[in-house]
Symmetry: none
Subunit: 445 residues, 2 copies
Amino acid sequence: MADRLSPGGDTAAGGDTAAGGDKPSGLSTSIDAAIIAVGSELLTPHKTDTNSLFISQVLNDLGIAVACKTIVGDRRAELTSHIAHALDRHRILILTGGLGPTDDDLTREVVAAHLGLPMDEDPAIVAAMERRFAARGWKMPAVNRRQALVPRGATVLANPNGTAPGLWIEHGASVIALLPGPPREMKPMMDGDVRARLAPLAGHVRLHRRLVRVSGRGESAVEEMVQPIYSGWLNQAPPIETTILAGLGQVELHLLLQSSDAVQAAAALEAAVNQLTPVLGPDLVSIDGRELEAVVGDLLRGRGWRVALAESCTGGLATSRLTDVPGSSDYVERSVVAYSNEAKIELLGVDAALVTAHGAVSEPVAAAMASGIRDRARVNVGIGITGIAGPGGGSEHKPVGTVCIAVAGRETRVRSYRFPGGREMVKALSANTAIDMLRRFLIEG
Amino acid sequence: MADRLSPGGDTAAGGDTAAGGDKPSGLSTSIDAAIIAVGSELLTPHKTDTNSLFISQVLNDLGIAVACKTIVGDRRAELTSHIAHALDRHRILILTGGLGPTDDDLTREVVAAHLGLPMDEDPAIVAAMERRFAARGWKMPAVNRRQALVPRGATVLANPNGTAPGLWIEHGASVIALLPGPPREMKPMMDGDVRARLAPLAGHVRLHRRLVRVSGRGESAVEEMVQPIYSGWLNQAPPIETTILAGLGQVELHLLLQSSDAVQAAAALEAAVNQLTPVLGPDLVSIDGRELEAVVGDLLRGRGWRVALAESCTGGLATSRLTDVPGSSDYVERSVVAYSNEAKIELLGVDAALVTAHGAVSEPVAAAMASGIRDRARVNVGIGITGIAGPGGGSEHKPVGTVCIAVAGRETRVRSYRFPGGREMVKALSANTAIDMLRRFLIEG
């Protein structure tokens, strides 16, 4: 297992009690952090902590390594024990969850008890919560007063997205941040107040990144293409680390570089990315982290073009993804989900004889859907998607996962695919591929 | 957050060193377990442990609660410390990952060192690995011999899907299982050998579950409605534990019961669910775990009805969710994403004067979209959704998040909402609410 993002040597504040040295590895920072996610639901087979991913990102940005992550239920003794264990070994502890108003929300109380800090009610928090409830025409329930308790000496972190404020505690050499559990409350707090307060602790070295997105190739094919390039990056000073991650129909290349010189780091990453560009060719989606649908949006906008979609097996998912981009109403004119043959004929002008001759899932029908929606919507480019998402509807010649996708501009391109996986995976891969076909059409056409 | 899924009282073998008792809560097994996932890549912002979900499911099935989960990098000192901490407090420890052949793979060695067990090379494992390599025409690399080292007294667990065997160690009162990291190797081992070996420890008690879905109310409102009921369940024998989880526009109630009698357990859960039904009324989506879109599908199918949708701000997401259900092509006839005013007028027959008079985001336009698509598709019921997903497009009177949704059958129902959050959250809440309005229309109409 490649280990180039792990804590760099057991030099953490907590010290190292075990025999045997770890071999040196990247991210060699002077401090590291522990993360504890609190919530019994996070211990069920159905749910897990994902907050720590965002928290790790912010910590890594600051050059702070994550030494361990723990998930604990809403239980006093267990939580106390893990907090003590973390603070014994690590200077920074980030807790998320357990700041709610009910009896089960213990984080605030357990941290204060462990540190021996009394708790005081903060009238400003009570007032802010009362205003928040009043704005919706509600009265604040009495239980919410718990959320206004502050361990003595702690700094309150404002939470514009919820009732539970965060807390920042400096205690001896330890730094402890308590963040709410809901991601939309936790993220702005971690990225704002907590990042600003951690920065002075972290020293001058920062983690710099570039995210390169690639489509149309698998993880190992991309690895094979770029390995000769990124292996060279490891020998330069400072080295650039590369991580390859596969998603549905897409591959991400994460380039990471630690440096105290932001200008030099940006130049080194830019030079690295420029080495990738000719190798990846049209499979390169973006070199700046932009999502596929945003790239397509920018290409359409750049041409002053509008698009319309005719979807069948994807059931609206391709349009939904395109319209996840703010401002997409400028270039997504309309879309039709034509599940039934009648809808294909009526709304898209697909010739009934074409359906009879080739079947609804066929390249000619996909092409007719794409040009049909293009003509009716009077836009520059149309997309047609027809396929078998399963689990039913497959046959020997057209098994589940068979999908035909067309892009119609002045010329029409159409291709057939056989996607793996269940219904939702076939839908997701089809939508992604359709949007990527549009991207290739726009950069080549 | 309600906490009724957590380990049941700090009665684990490891004992409880912290002050303050936890209030009694469910899953009161005599033993509980800790899970440690090992691997530095699991501490990056891009990847997290998911093995523990499967491991938790098997443990819970056996009536064993998960007390905590920890993720540690491939680092000797950190890993040793977490193993010691887990074994201090919990009788069962399941480790996954770090059994590979490289220097970074430390789990085997660190566990043996911590327990003071010498390691011996197992010639049977060497022979099996050599056969595995030979079958592919390769010679076993020397590094792989590490994988044949077995702490003295440990039982080797066969791994038909990879080279790294698992290990089962009984040491004093502790039970420790070492499983490989790749899911396709870990899962059969956990579900097979480890389950079989844990079962006698766990006794005859198993965990039985029911999942109840609720919509249209927030987590705390649902809690308030059902609390008087579920609090009574805690006093019956065996008690039923309830966990309330909030999603986007939906709430889940997980009912859990531990019993050695499967028939009795099913009857008790059925009786419990029947108590909820009258209280939740039309907010009750399902008592058998079915998703909202599947419930709507069954209702439509039961009536022999078909639906068509006219979406604006949701961009196809409502239709995509409805069509996530296998067989939904039977009752989803068509859908139109009418972003532009022209598309609303042309495809749905919305009166241009209506748009001018009330604006595109208005109840009259939503109603006209719903009845327009219903008429044009010649189906029983139509849905219209128009709103401002943001971040742009809001005004003082119609801020971002304003969404009007209509369901048109023989009568038309229309409502306005103001959803919180960013673009994707507004889209998700709007789609969920539209599908739920259809559900209510179908059960009441």
